[in-house]
Symmetry: C2
Subunit: 238 residues, 2 copies
DNA sequence: ACGTGTCAATCAATCGCTTGATTGACCCAG
DNA sequence: CTGGGTCAATCAAGCGATTGATTGACACGT
């Protein structure tokens, strides 16, 4: 792959990710993509072969991209699995914050997440890749953390706990429109922090720990990374 | 409306609900619907005016239909809001069971739920109705129950707790395909029971109660309704 | 330095097909 | 014979796919 692996190709992938992500496969025509990418209609056939192939490649690229929620699992990639509960709780808090921070904001890669959600809701040939490269790593990390927090639980129970934690977070993205309609909409930057606080507390209590333990974990997590705490949030306005 | 308010009309609505639910609006053609309903192509225009109008009417009917998850909120419709925590916990357990029992199985009205989920993910003109008639009642009931369980919490916190409970359950439906791929698939009837147990425990702990309290609530809920308990499940094979 | 051939890349134009919508004829109960 | 309901047939528009021509960059033997 050269430095400029075909400008048009990338523009097409960007447009495809954005359009497929926000509208879904069937609602987007190749003409929409070509127009959005300022490319010719035939360039899709030339670079990818078909609309379907372009979609699959856009999904794959969306998952193997740096700086996304898909990277949250890397939190533990070069760190040994913690041995005591307090340590695991801190990592869990950091994971939750990292996941929410990339999941919630209506940011540049909204479409990327939506692609993955759509693929989960209505599986296609791309689902296997999405599960293996995006979902399973996060699930595995979460299970490993919960295992330390709940040594007595069997694998099935650990999996359910992990899904309860992930489910809470995904819920806010999947049903964003609904939730914002249920109450007055609020700014995303505020919501990341308040939801981090809520999900971490709710989940650690759900795993059997008390509020003081959760509080301490969040405090330590804030020290160990760039998490805004309730105190440090007071003055900022980003 | 007569007893047989046009057979074709109903067949079209059934077909539309099923097809739109499983594939989404854009992936379904009016010819698919007409074929599925054994009706003529023009009957869609005659009875509804357009594809879009048929979709909107199908969504509306799906929400105001008896025996669906949309009825879970009616659990409290003719019951006063409970005054003590134990009572509220029992109702919460019953709500969770009822919701999961109608949400999880790949049953007749899969499509109905999928319609609502889709509408939540990608809002259209029908979203307002879906929120007001399906989602808000459930959310309100849940908030009222949680308020009794957590008297010290403010409205925003109650709303987040309610979303955490709903989110866990919705997660298993929205990402059913993904979750079944993560582990070996398991029968739905088993999963309703084991997930009921898990979600109720996790949520009541998340709200600040201990395991014994949750256990008691589930036991009482089983007595008060038709919920299968771990013990009563042992011999059945439905 | 020049013509020649090769290659990736882009382009306008068009293919055959499907889409949602619409027509006018037809049927039959009231 | 009137009107609610169904029907096959058809419409323009849009779809994804495909074509053959064209471009500019690069490498070649002479």
């Amino acid at each position: 792959m050269p430095d400029t692996p075909c400008q048009t190709r990338i523009a097409l992938l960007d447009a495809a990710e954005s359009l497929f992500g926000s509208r879904g496969f069937d609602a987007v025509g190749i003409r929409d993509i070509a127009r959005e990418a300022d490319a010719n209609l035939a360039s899709i056939k030339y670079h990818f072969g078909s609309k379907r192939a372009l979609y699959l490649e856009a999904v794959n690229r969306a998952m193997t991209r740096p700086g996304r929620a898909s990277e949250a699992w890397q939190l533990l990639e070069h760190t040994p699995v913690p041995s005591d509960a307090a340590e695991a709780a801190v990592l869990l808090a950091r994971f939750i914050h990292r996941f929410l921070a990339e999941l919630l904001p209506t940011s540049s890669d909204d479409a990327c997440i939506m692609l993955i959600i759509r693929e989960g809701m209505r599986p296609s040939e791309a689902l296997d890749g999405v599960v293996d490269r995006y979902i399973r790593p996060n699930q595995t990390l979460l299970v490993n953390l919960v295992r330390v927090l709940k040594p007595q639980a069997d694998d099935a129970e650990l999996a359910r706990d992990a899904q309860s934690i992930l489910g809470q977070m995904m819920h806010y993205r999947v049903f964003r429109a609904v939730i914002e309609k249920l109450r007055g909409a609020r700014s995303d930057s505020q919501r990341v922090h308040e939801l981090f606080d809520h999900v971490t507390r709710f989940s650690l209590r759900g795993l059997g720990y008390d509020d003081a333990f959760a509080e301490q974990a969040m405090k330590d997590a804030a020290k160990a990374s760039d998490i805004d705490t309730a105190a440090s949030m007071e003055g900022s306005s980003t």
